[in-house]
């Protein structure tokens, strides 16, 4: 079995899709963690602004999660096609 034969096997695309989705989860975790860290620190500095900060935090977290889910969809396409 040459390397080419192994790489062209369909199962490699499944592997690639799954690894990609996992990496995207790591990225989302780091990103949203940083957003949460910034938000919580800001609330600690100024508790009266908690509501505004919370709204912005949720908005930004949805952006980051959207990007991570792009990668999940790409992984899903790699597995299903």
């Amino acid at each position: 079995m040459s390397l080419m034969n192994i790489l062209l096997d369909v199962s490699v695309s499944h592997l690639g899709g799954a690894i990609g989705a996992g990496l995207a989860a790591i990225g989302a975790g780091i990103g949203i963690g940083q957003i949460g860290k910034g938000a919580v620190e800001s609330i600690a500095r100024q508790p009266e602004a908690a509501n505004d900060i919370r709204a912005n935090m949720i908005l930004t977290a949805a952006f980051v999660e959207g990007v991570a889910l792009f990668a999940v969809i790409a992984g899903l396409l790699a597995v299903l096609k």
Binding site: I58, G66, F70
Partner: protein, 355 residues
């Protein structure tokens, strides 16, 4: 006293959700004797179908009882030039062909060669969308009539006004006014419609046996395209000036980098709206279904493992259900908010202090 009430409410809702999510676990039997294919089961639940399938029971004599609501199948055949309508029960879950059409993997295929036909059936998604539409129209028109008569304006709001008014004022004050400034009145009807439509379909999609409407790329594409046109029709000269002649950068950068990037940006912003809503909803449903299917995967190994694993799996599924309810609200809010932000960016006009 308030804490005890909150605690009992929490226990009641949690146990109800637990009971609900054990529904798909209880009777999600597959065809007798066939090996369990988790991917196929999950895909079947996420995709559109021609009937509402709640559960299938295997009776003692080996036959199966399907608890389904069959939906009408409407096919317009261009080659034959005629419209065919019948109940999807005639397909007998893919085992029988009817009037020259058969059901394979949820899609209708024609038995005659090279037949061009259009499947206009009322599938699960269509029925659920119409249901959400009806609820939305009835609810909102009813509330509006009450406001017209003065209830909630000169006297205290009653009934559904109490539930809907904070949500509408939230969308108006947190989404429309900050982003759209003085012109918020023009766009508020569209923003409210999009918000409530996505919210109702998200919530419906969480019920076991319902259709996965917002997790359907076609649905989100249409919403995204409508938002794209709303944004496009609100653009002004200043907006296009910024795209084609981005201020504050050297000219080579302006032509070769900023122009393609900005032009692409006009399209990627609605595209992100589309994929964000679709991916969030589909991912949530897949996670819940995976946890429930995990029970059956373990069960196919040994009955004891299946039963033993089910409390853990149901607990995880309930936890994810809670998150999905939150995600349902958040995604509706995000779609509306970002549409408002993009519309605001479109007619922004010149800033007093340039970049």
């Amino acid at each position: 006293m308030g804490e005890i009430r909150l605690k009992s409410l929490l226990v009641a809702s949690l146990s109800l959700l637990l009971a609900f999510s054990s529904f798909p676990a209880m009777a999600n039997e597959d065809h007798a004797g066939e090996k369990l294919d988790p991917a196929k089961v999950i895909m079947e639940h996420i995709q559109d179908a021609h009937d509402f399938h709640f559960f299938t029971l295997k009776k003692n004599d080996g036959t199966e009882f399907h608890a389904t609501i069959p939906l009408p199948v409407i096919i317009y055949s261009q080659t034959k030039g005629k419209l065919t309508t019948f109940s999807s029960a005639k397909f007998e879950h893919g085992h029988a062909a009817y009037k020259g059409y058969k059901l394979e993997h949820g899609k209708i295929h024609s038995e005659t060669e090279n037949e061009v036909f259009y499947d206009l059936s009322m599938t699960k998604n269509v029925v659920q969308m119409l249901l959400a539409l009806t609820i939305l129209v009835v609810l909102m028109v009813g509330i509006a009539n009450k406001y017209k008569k003065g209830q909630g304006v000169t006297s205290a709001p009653k009934g559904w006004q109490n539930a809907i008014e904070p949500v509408i004022t939230f969308v108006r004050d947190e989404v429309a006014k900050p982003n759209l400034g003085k012109k918020y009145g023009k766009y508020l009807p569209y923003l409210l419609t999009v918000f409530f439509f996505i919210l109702i379909n998200n919530i419906f999609g969480l019920l076991p046996g319902s259709a996965n409407v917002t997790g359907n790329i076609a649905f989100t594409i249409v919403l995204g395209v409508i938002s794209f046109f709303v944004i496009l029709f609100s653009t002004n000269k200043h907006f296009w000036g910024h795209i084609f002649w981005f201020p504050g950068v050297p000219t080579p950068v302006r032509i070769f980098i900023m122009l393609p990037v900005e032009l692409l940006g006009v399209f990627t912003k609605p595209f992100a709206l589309i994929v964000r809503l679709f991916a969030n909803m589909v991912a949530g449903h897949i996670i819940i279904l995976s946890f429930i299917t995990l029970i059956f995967i373990f069960g196919s190994m040994s009955a004891v493992a299946g039963w033993g694993f089910s409390p853990l799996s149901v607990a995880f599924a309930v936890f994810i259900y809670m998150i999905e309810i939150m995600v349902a609200f958040i995604q509706a809010f995000i779609f509306t908010n970002l549409t408002a932000v993009f519309i605001g960016q479109a007619f922004e006009g010149s800033h007093d202090d340039h970049h």
